[in-house]
Subunit: 329 residues, 2 copies
Amino acid sequence: MKKLINAPDTVLAQSLDGFAAAHADIVALGAEYKFVRRRELRPGKVALISGGGSGHEPLHAGFVGRGMLDAACPGQVFTSPTPDQMVAAVEAVESGSGCLFIVKNYEGDVMNFQMAADLAGKEVATVVTDDDVAVEASTWSTGRRGVAGTLIVEKIVGAAAEAGSSLPQLKTLGENVNRQTRSMGVALTSCTVPAAGVPTFSLGEDEMEMGVGIHGESGRRRVALAPADAIADEMVGAIVKDLAPDKGAEALLLVNGFGGTPAMELYLMVHSALRVLRGNGIRVSRFLTGNYVTSLEMAGCSITVCVLDDALRQWWDAPVHTAALRWGV
Amino acid sequence: MKKLINAPDTVLAQSLDGFAAAHADIVALGAEYKFVRRRELRPGKVALISGGGSGHEPLHAGFVGRGMLDAACPGQVFTSPTPDQMVAAVEAVESGSGCLFIVKNYEGDVMNFQMAADLAGKEVATVVTDDDVAVEASTWSTGRRGVAGTLIVEKIVGAAAEAGSSLPQLKTLGENVNRQTRSMGVALTSCTVPAAGVPTFSLGEDEMEMGVGIHGESGRRRVALAPADAIADEMVGAIVKDLAPDKGAEALLLVNGFGGTPAMELYLMVHSALRVLRGNGIRVSRFLTGNYVTSLEMAGCSITVCVLDDALRQWWDAPVHTAALRWGV
């Protein structure tokens, strides 16, 4: 295992220490690394909290800050955070207007956030994201998995929360964005969980995993490595088929690197994905390209399409000031 | 070779097409992919132009925009751009106040930018960056190599150009920033140039290349994989020894990923580097962490330290609106 770490059992704490030091103007660390919170809270605003296993950075701590999340609870690598983490986060950031949990659809996450909602003693609502069209159920989930589309839900709901929307409004908005958003991924290599020390799975020199999940879990099928255009045909094709947008629909395109893929290839995938989207009569008006929802050092990418209307576009464009997304401030 | 591409000879053009589509609000592509230019020029401002081999994205095209570069000339992967590219870029973005070239110290780059300066028929000055303390000369350079510190020169000089500084002032400022900036890198894996199809070099399962260059070229020595703290001791130690900052100096810390290293490890390196810097009485007031000056999919990172004073800190903090760096707008 080749990693820039000191030891597997100190990876998470030391990484969070570095993150908190580097972004001390935006975030603060909770006691015992239970959560990362927004440094300057906005009293009276609905509190947005997310979290999940680590190893997907910048998701979720990189999205804590003005216009997005109020707190994120990091579990160990690819391991759900425990309910006491979310309870502590609610305690730290809820200010009387209730709390919205944004949870990716994995059994451990859904269960632990539900337990936290029951224990928190505050008004809590939950949005569960399940944007991955690759599989209908998996080793980690009942139903579709929540993947890179989650950051779009967090950005749009975060902007509306900042503008004063109520908890029921935010839950409705988040569920609406999730319904308008679909993703699919492909892996060229595996990743290695530090505590395991060996790759999660193995791929031959000429193979790829089509429809891979963000923990390296199986997708639709293992196939021969294909050109970028053919990969985009399959992934965007599956997304468009499932999303069934109106002809002439406006969309946001997110090409997300899994951690080990260079920017040069991600932008090439933007080119390939655009060709397919245009061929389907979809007009892309907003783009996001980079490593946002990763699987440690896995090579590969996911493509996410979110159908926009005027309201969603305006929330997307609204100012955001986090470690990983920043504009308008 | 596992890459998200269609063919080695179309990688650069298709990647630039995707980049230009994704950032059409900021940049425009020159004819024949000769350069990427800022979409909205500011008449009367000194034009800043950089460039170099591709494969280091987001350097340099990702730094074109308000408050940074006016144009970037992308060569083929790890290959210098040709003089006609820079001549075309000068023609497109120079508006009467002269042009500053910012060039990393590699023989091909220095020669081709010099030829372009001679051919351009405009007033051109040049800043050559050489921040890499790892080696005093290399297969690619006479003297030290220009690496990740180049982006700090581009940001600070870009802010001063936006504020109306003259060509001689910008050249002096750029050379001053370069003198205050030192870097060193480490590689855990090689990278593969698409046209070559095989890794540039090979490293054993327990080896790393200490002092590696950004093309995978040799560093100081090949050694056994070490813990993050020991790596930071050696890299930051070499930087501090060479930079010899005053006790109590203020600094900017850039922890730069080479393309294949997860954010989790980069932030852990921030933690490790901070410990060494604090031990040397250096106070870090500004941070930048992420993939900024890459070597395709190479795993590893570089550490850069830039000594700040009030003026440099203010130029660093000034608004910037590019694909890869954005704040204040």
